[in-house]
């Protein structure tokens, strides 16, 4: 496999990797460093990539590992809430309207802020599912966690967002 074939496989993911890196680091300069490091490592280790397997999961995994060893990554990982994950029961949504109203108003800044505030373990799984549109299996391979953990983290992330939207909608109603 040549550096040309690496370039052909890797560059289509460039913008998405950068976007994901920004969400992980909350800092554009750090995100650039992270993406640059990811491409350098991926090129160096390209001989170990098995053709026919999932290149996207492979390169995202490299980016995530590079993030985890960075100062920001270690700090973020240390703040992951230590709650049981696989055993969690999925909480059914309660029929509420304020958050729907909020979402219908397309308050993207509020959504961005809510996603930013999620612990990194929930944020990454949510973004890989919703923005990168990865399957549970692909997320499991990328993050190196079981499928059950992917599902429980997704459920927790969504519930946290729903609760946050409901609170924000209630506050907004109070102000108005």
């Amino acid at each position: 496999m040549t550096s040309r074939s690496f370039e052909q496989l890797a560059m289509p993911h460039f913008e998405r990797l950068y976007n994901f890196a920004c969400w992980l680091t909350h800092d554009r300069q750090e995100a650039e460093d992270l993406v640059q490091e990811t491409y350098a490592k991926a090129l160096k280790g390209f001989s170990s990539f098995q053709p026919g397997t999932n290149f996207r999961a492979w390169i995202y995994k490299i980016l995530r590992n590079a993030f985890l060893t960075s100062r920001t990554g270690l700090k973020a990982a240390a703040t992951v809430p230590l709650e049981p994950e696989d055993e969690e029961q999925v909480v059914p949504a309660v029929m509420e309207t304020p958050e729907s109203i909020l979402l219908q108003r397309s308050d993207w800044q509020l959504v961005q802020k809510a996603v930013e505030q999620l612990p990194v373990a929930y944020r990454e799984v949510l973004l890989l599912c919703e923005v990168e549109e990865m399957s549970y299996q692909e997320i499991s391979a990328t993050l190196g966690i079981p499928m059950g953990t992917v599902m429980s983290r997704l459920s927790r992330a969504r519930k946290t967002l729903r609760d946050g939207f409901a609170t924000a909608a209630a506050a907004s109603k109070g102000v108005n």
């Binding site: 554009r28 999925v90 919703e130």
Partner: protein, 253 residues
């Protein structure tokens, strides 16, 4: 099935992850149940909102150019005579048959050595090279618990000229390991510990002391108790060997 049971699966359904045989039943239920239909709509709205908000950051053209240049393939030489190319290709093929195995193993080894040297240099160049800052092995060793999937012994240093500066989690081949930094007469030495099975070409590395090509370091590596150790630094070969032997003794105890 009660509504609550359907709702538990609603996100899985909307993520397209529900088994095919359940999708038909689910569709039928959602069509006939206003509560689940409203809930599904609300969750779809949230998915769309996250999708839109999530695609927020765009790299600059300059950054794209820099990355592209850093990975760009070198221009290929063109051959004016076809037979020269064919002859050269044939020769390479014959030689390759005999040497490919050796080259693959050799380049794999070189890649690991250079990766280890990179980790050593990059860490020392960092403004904060260690995440657990302590000279006490009884502080450093427990710090790694839960951060890496194995445990290891650290040597007793009291009677030696080495001092422990601290440690950090590191990655090789996308697998986690321990990185410890020692000091001896103002030289820094890195000790890396990984699971043997996680390091590609681990078997071919063997037990060796060497000065990798183009690297101003001495490196010693060996496998012991299912773990692969690397000791690397710009200190003299005697110091590297001494620290390596202390780790071997600690691992054997």
């Amino acid at each position: 099935m009660a509504c609550e049971s359907w709702k538990e699966k609603l996100d899985t359904y909307l993520d397209g992850e529900l088994p095919e045989k359940e999708i038909h039943d689910f569709d039928a239920h959602v069509r006939g149940c206003p509560s689940c239909a409203a809930d599904a709509l609300r969750r779809v709205q949230m998915k769309r909102a996250i999708q839109t908000a999530g695609k927020h950051f765009t790299p600059s053209d300059d950054f794209r150019r820099r990355v592209q240049q850093s990975i760009a393939s070198k221009p290929q030489r063109s051959f004016s005579s076809g037979w020269v190319f064919a002859a050269a290709f044939g020769l390479i093929l014959v030689v390759g048959l005999f040497t490919s195995s050796y080259v693959r193993m050799h380049s794999g080894r070189e890649q690991i050595y250079s990766e280890i040297a990179d980790l050593h240099v990059a860490t020392l160049a960092s403004s904060s090279p260690v995440d657990v800052l302590s000279t006490d092995r009884h502080t450093v060793k427990p710090w790694f618990q839960g951060k890496i999937p194995f445990s290891f012994n650290l040597p007793e240093l009291q009677t030696s000229e080495f001092s422990l500066l601290g440690g950090r989690v590191t990655y090789l081949d996308q697998t986690p390991g321990a990185h410890l930094i020692y000091d001896v007469r103002k030289h820094h030495i890195s000790v890396f510990v990984f699971q043997s099975q996680s390091v590609n070409f681990s078997a071919s590395l063997g037990d060796s002391s060497l000065s990798p090509k183009k690297l101003p370091f001495t490196m010693e590596t060996w496998a012991q108790g299912g773990l692969r150790y690397f000791v690397v630094g710009d200190a003299g070969a005697a110091d590297i060997a001494k620290l390596a032997n202390m780790f071997k003794a600690a691992a054997a105890s």
